[in-house]
């Protein structure tokens, strides 16, 4: 091509693009905006099905809203006026009625419920879904096990609309476990059509397709960018939700999410730093709802299997060195419930979480260090999950500062997401700042995961003690049988032991904070800490 012509055409293209630039801004479509909810968070789902391999937390939210369960929880109002699920009151969802016998429970399913594609929900689908949950392995199976739901033999189809679960043992947690996200009811016919020999449960299909009967279905999903939900007009699991369309966008920068909220360009945001929530609340432009996370504790854990933290006095020294109040103020902006400074380590009630008796006292800490034989000081590492860095980093820095004053030199170790789970599984970290909360809000449930001899991955301290294990098992058994006297004794027993031996130091019970535009109503706190779209409304 001739040089001149080439350059001429280039100039023409350049000129053309400049000319079209001026008219840039045009107002958003107001009507469509009114019927759509825009939710912004840092991460989006990596899988729409909680049964999938490695589904992340945002994926749980997709599962919760697109699938129904047999039961759900009723709502109650908290002292500050906000709504929360009621742990003790179960309500019908797909099961309109149920009877509990001694070693089984029978559920009568609604006759008018259908899946998104119109096929009716039958007991066969329920059994298939439960079988799937206990067979796929990974987290879902472990969660089912927590409520003693372990074998497909337990799940029996009595007739098209009657479903029975046979208990393996008496467990108070079985019924509440039916209301968690995992035992969702899946459209077995549809999924079986899309399954294969290598993938008998159709996990590939449900990863990107909703095959449920829930109030919403996923209309489009661009991984890493956005999820668009549409309301399922024939939903029978409860009153029809008010919002027709929900758009969930991934916005990695926290500052931008906050800016979006303040300017009114986004409706709901969850995962902002505590400081932003505190300020948003005081500015008053948006509503901020803060609910204590049930059965949830942020803690400083120490690995008790390896020296030096196998020394109880050393752990107690650390417990006295932590700058608790500073953490509450500087890291959490007071948006948390303190778990320190009680009168003593003796458990006062059956409430969990409850505060322990340690408080910041550097002299006591130094004395205990000397008693433990570490008067010379020690070197160690303090680790935390980079993904939780917004909260964990300031906490780690403050703790590091105080530990230095009693002779412990802790290097801070920021561990990126994927590695964090590996490290937790390896149980090699000497000291860490971490968070755990159990979906079923009972103390024995928490202790089962964190202090029991089964040494689950959440028992990050590798704490194995036969007395502790006995008390936890005893409490679970007693709760199942209704033996409240033994229950009381065991629970108070294991809490006190945990505080005295302090393999992990509870710091605070965090709040789950949500920022909502003033015209958004119907927010309800759920134990899974994800957003339930079904109760939301937009004025």
């Amino acid at each position: 091509m001739k040089r001149r012509d080439f350059l001429k055409s280039m100039t023409a293209v350049a000129a053309g693009s400049v000319l079209s630039a001026p008219a840039v801004w045009s107002p958003a479509k107001a009507q469509a905006r009114k019927e759509t909810l825009l939710l912004v968070t840092e991460n989006g789902p990596n899988n729409l099905d909680i049964h999938g391999v490695g589904t992340n937390r945002p994926g749980y939210e997709a599962s919760w809203n697109c699938y129904d369960r047999l039961l759900s929880h009723a709502k109650k109002t908290l002292p500050d006026g906000s709504a929360s699920y009621d742990r003790d009151k179960l309500t019908p969802e797909l099961a309109e009625d149920w009877t509990t016998g001694d070693m089984s429970a029978t559920f009568k399913l609604r006759k008018d419920a259908t899946f998104h594609d119109g096929t009716p929900v039958t007991a066969k689908d329920v059994k298939w879904s439960f079988d799937r949950a206990v067979t796929v392995g990974g987290f879902p199976t472990v969660q089912m096990k927590a409520g003693s739901l372990e074998k497909p033999e337990q799940f029996v189809v009595d007739d098209d609309h009657t479903f029975r679960i046979d208990f393996l043992r008496k467990d108070r947690l079985t019924m509440p476990d039916l209301a968690v996200i995992v035992p969702g009811i899946y459209n077995s016919a549809l999924i079986k059509k899309n399954a294969s020999e290598k993938d008998p449960w159709g996990l590939e299909y449900t990863k990107s397709n909703s095959a449920g009967s829930g109030a919403y279905r996923v209309a489009s999903w661009k991984p890493g960018v956005e999820v668009v939900y549409e309301r399922f007009e024939n939903w029978k699991g409860g009153p029809l939700p008010k919002l027709k369309r929900i758009v969930w966008r991934t916005i990695p920068s926290a500052g931008n999410r906050r800016a979006l909220m303040e300017r009114g360009d986004a409706d709901v945001s969850f995962d902002l730093p505590a400081k932003d929530f505190a300020e948003l609340r005081s500015e008053g432009k948006v509503n901020v709802v803060s609910t204590p996370i049930g059965n949830g504790i942020y803690y400083l854990g120490m690995n008790v299997k390896n020296p030096p933290f196998d020394n109880e006095k050393l752990r107690q020294a650390v417990a006295y060195a932590v700058p608790y109040q500073k953490i509450m103020d500087a890291a959490m902006f007071k948006l948390a419930k303190p778990m320190f400074g009680a009168a003593s380590n003796q458990a006062q009630s059956l409430e969990w979480p409850q505060p322990h008796g340690y408080d910041t006292d550097l002299n006591k800490a130094k004395a205990l260090m000397a008693e433990a034989g570490f008067g010379e000081g020690i070197d160690t590492t303090l680790s935390f999950d980079l993904g939780q860095g917004v909260v964990s980093e300031p906490i780690a820095i403050l703790i590091q500062e105080n530990l230095k004053q009693i002779g412990i030199n802790a290097t801070i170790n920021k561990v990126p997401g994927a590695n964090w789970r590996s490290e937790m599984a390896k149980k090699s970290l000497p000291m860490m700042v971490n968070f755990f909360s159990g979906w079923l809000d009972y103390p024995e449930y928490f202790f089962f995961w964190c202090y029991h001899g089964q040494n689950a991955i959440f028992n990050t301290m590798s704490y194995v003690d036969p007395d502790m294990t006995a008390m936890i098992d005893g409490a679970r058994k007693a709760a199942g049988e209704g033996d409240w006297k033994t229950y009381d004794k065991d629970v108070k027993g294991f809490v006190t032991k945990a505080f005295n031996e302090v393999p992990r130091i509870p710091l605070f019970q965090p709040y789950l904070n949500v920022a909502l535009q003033k015209n958004i109503g119907g927010y309800c706190y759920w134990f899974h800490r994800q957003l339930d779209y079904r109760s939301l409304s937009k004025a």
């Binding site: 905006r33 991984p223 966008r249 500052g255 931008n256 590695n419 991955i457």
Partner: protein
Amino acid sequence: MLQTIGRRLLTVIPTLIGVIVVTFLLTRVLPGDPAVYFAGPAATPQSIEEIRKKLGFDRPLPEQFVYYVSDLAKGNLGNSLSTGQSVVEEVATRLPASAELTLFGLFVAMVIAVPLGILAAVKQGSIIDHACRVIATLGVSLPVFFTGLLLVYVFYFLLGWAPAPIGRLDIFYSTPDRVTGFYLIDSLLAGDVETFRAALAQLILPVVTLAIFSIAPIARMTRAAMLSALSSEFVRTARASGLSPYRVVITYAFRNAMLPVITTFGMVFSFLLGANVLVEKVFAWPGIGSYAVEALIASDYAPVQGFVLTMAILYVMLNLAIDLLYGVIDPRVRLEG
């Protein structure tokens, strides 16, 4: 010309092989065990082993490499573990997003930097020359994420002039049918002016951020090339012949100075494509940079390998294109080469 292309591609093959091997090793050296990550919370040692077998990570390294290469030969870059999508698909969707941003940013930078460079060369040693150098250097001294956040703060948050930094398109506009993957082009092709405007609006802040960063190298190179062109014999002749300053500077000097400037474009483009990572994070841009970063942090091998390979191939193509462009712009190169 075909011969040059063929020859060039041959020399590139050893480099590509090197890239494949190095990436493979690098991803395997990353700490963190993807099997544990994907076994989910509450993983037991058995479930971790199951996942490990399922994902094929229990086989010895050389065997994994062989599988990887044979997949590559079939055009299969594997699946991302964190999004579950095929890497090829995701790269195909995300690459145009980054390319659109980078090209547009480079274009804006060029529009500012080239005249600046020419001006500085013509008025060498004057205040304008110094000012030009200071401005350009300042732009490249700012960390690119800092500039981005600052712009968002001022133009979106304080002034409200720019639209919300929520990605390529506001939620009420549906993406135009995919022809090139460039929203600007696709929306025009579909005749949808509204979407075009919306996409353009979303592009402004990230493009300005990138442009600020790219002005310096382009301005510098333009100035240097212009200086050497202006001091050459033929320009002296042109001046002596009484041609207007405009003709001397633009028609004669600039045309000859363009070659090194174009090389700089190419270099800056390939640099930016990789450095986009930070800008994409700030503006929630669904580009290939943010894709690679997230995969890296999650120890997700396939996307990282796919990303690096794609970039390497792109870089080669780019160099080739620049060489061909040389031929078009400067007949001497074509005739001699």
